[in-house]
């Protein structure tokens, strides 16, 4: 066991953790909006509209995240037209490509979580609102959304942890996140176990924090 290497690599790995966290928060925020949008669309009565949302979530949940990143990072650059638009400023950066891929991916999972949360709301709650003469818009924002959020907290907590692990794939498109730096140190020192313990420890610590925050929120919003 090379303890010196473990201590020496810790600051580098902690530095890289910031990139991991940045990727994670950005994707979760975008993903939540995408997820909410598709969850609402999915509940639409128009079959074409809700089929679209279904196909979106099916495709993104049925293919590996790695393929999604590669299509966005390597694939989209091939389209000549895109290169000439303003979008290219974003799409040529691996950082933004990773965030786009992660957001679309977590958005698909989030939409499923929120959809099932909306569907488990008892019709009585909505009927109670209606009989009190509350407008359907306010029923949606003040009754359905808060209940759905509470309902989906445990599953969403799992999704956050899965997404945190997913950000490790950013290292495949040249980003030096926690896994990317860990791989670099392993391949230069050939001490995989030591680096795995330190990097894995950081990931576990983040998992632990997320897990407990979600647990706290669940308790706070329980009814």
């Amino acid at each position: 066991m090379d303890f010196e290497l473990m201590i020496n690599s810790l600051p580098k790995l902690l530095n890289a953790t910031f990139i991991t966290l940045k990727l994670l928060t950005a994707s979760l925020i975008f993903g939540l909006f995408i997820g909410l949008f598709f969850a609402i669309i999915r509940l639409n009565k128009n079959p074409i509209i809700n089929k679209f949302a279904y196909v979106y979530s099916y495709v993104f949940r049925g293919t590996p995240l790695l393929v999604q990143i590669f299509i966005i990072y390597f694939g989209l650059g091939q389209i000549e037209y895109l290169r000439s638009t303003a979008l290219w400023v974003i799409l040529k950066e691996p950082y933004w490509c990773a965030i786009i891929a992660f957001s679309l991916n977590t958005g698909a999972y989030t939409s499923e979580i929120l959809r099932s949360a909306f569907q488990t709301i008892k019709p009585g709650m909505i009927e109670a609102g209606q009989s009190l003469g509350i407008s359907s818009k306010i029923i949606f924002y003040k009754i359905q959304i808060p209940i759905a959020i509470r309902q989906s907290l445990p599953a969403y907590g799992n999704e956050i942890i899965l997404m945190m692990k997913g950000t490790s794939l950013a290292s495949t498109v040249t980003l030096m996140d926690l896994t990317g730096v860990a791989k670099y140190i392993i391949s230069t020192t050939f001490k995989p176990i030591e680096v795995f313990i330190v990097a894995g420890g950081i990931y576990l610590f983040m998992t632990f924090i997320i897990h407990n925050v979600i647990k706290f929120l669940e308790k706070k919003y329980s009814y």
């Binding site: 099916y58 495709v59 049925g62 293919t63 590996p64 995240l65 790695l66 393929v67 999604q68 590669f70 299509i71 390597f74 694939g75 989209l76 650059g77 091939q78 389209i79 942890i161 945190m164 692990k165 997913g166 950000t167 490790s168 794939l169 290292s171 495949t172 896994t179 860990a182 791989k183 392993i186 391949s187 050939f190 995989p192 176990i193 795995f196 990097a199 894995g200 990931y203 576990l204 998992t207 632990f208």
Partner: protein, 230 residues
Amino acid sequence: MELLSFGKTGWGDELLIATMMTIAVSITAMFIGFLFALIFTPLKLSKSKFLNLIGNSYTTVIRGVPELLVIYLFFFGGSGAVMYVASIFGYNEYIEINAFITGSFAIGIISGAYSTEVFRGAIQSIDKGQFEASKVLGLKKPVHFFKVIMPQMLRLAIPNLSNVWQITLKDTSLISVTGLVEIMRQSYIAAGSTRDPLFFYSFAAVLYLMLTYFSMKLINKLEVRYSRGY
């Protein structure tokens, strides 16, 4: 379309073989995962605190650390570990482990952690009376497990195992980093030599979608079979 033709001019046959490889790795990994689950599920359910701790550390660590990191550990550390064990037995030559074995082992350990959780949940949700009844009837331990607990556990576990299968199937794309020629690696090679990444990665996505779609169909049939009588 001619990019997908068979023979020397197209990539059709290569991608077909790569798909077979993905299926082979997924099945091997799933099987290795079952072996791990067979060891760790009893540990998690055991009354001993110490055994519990071992079982829990396995599932917590593996499920809390990115798959890619585990794969790097095996990829860079695998042959070193094997060589170390071999040197104890007096064999000092260089040993290189094949990418298929490293890959399926790494994915297998990950899949095993998920399977362990599924089996634990399934066993815990079997009615307590079933355990007591087979004890009262004086059934031998193996008979009790294989004839009473296992069939009920499988019925409860299959829907969740199908999720584990999906995760495992998608995780195999990550072992392309070790150089094993499965769907992702083959698409990478094809994309590099034809300069058409958009087409090949999209095609890879379609292949994965087909794999997940058809395996779901198959698992649904299994589910129906195992829930006969309920």
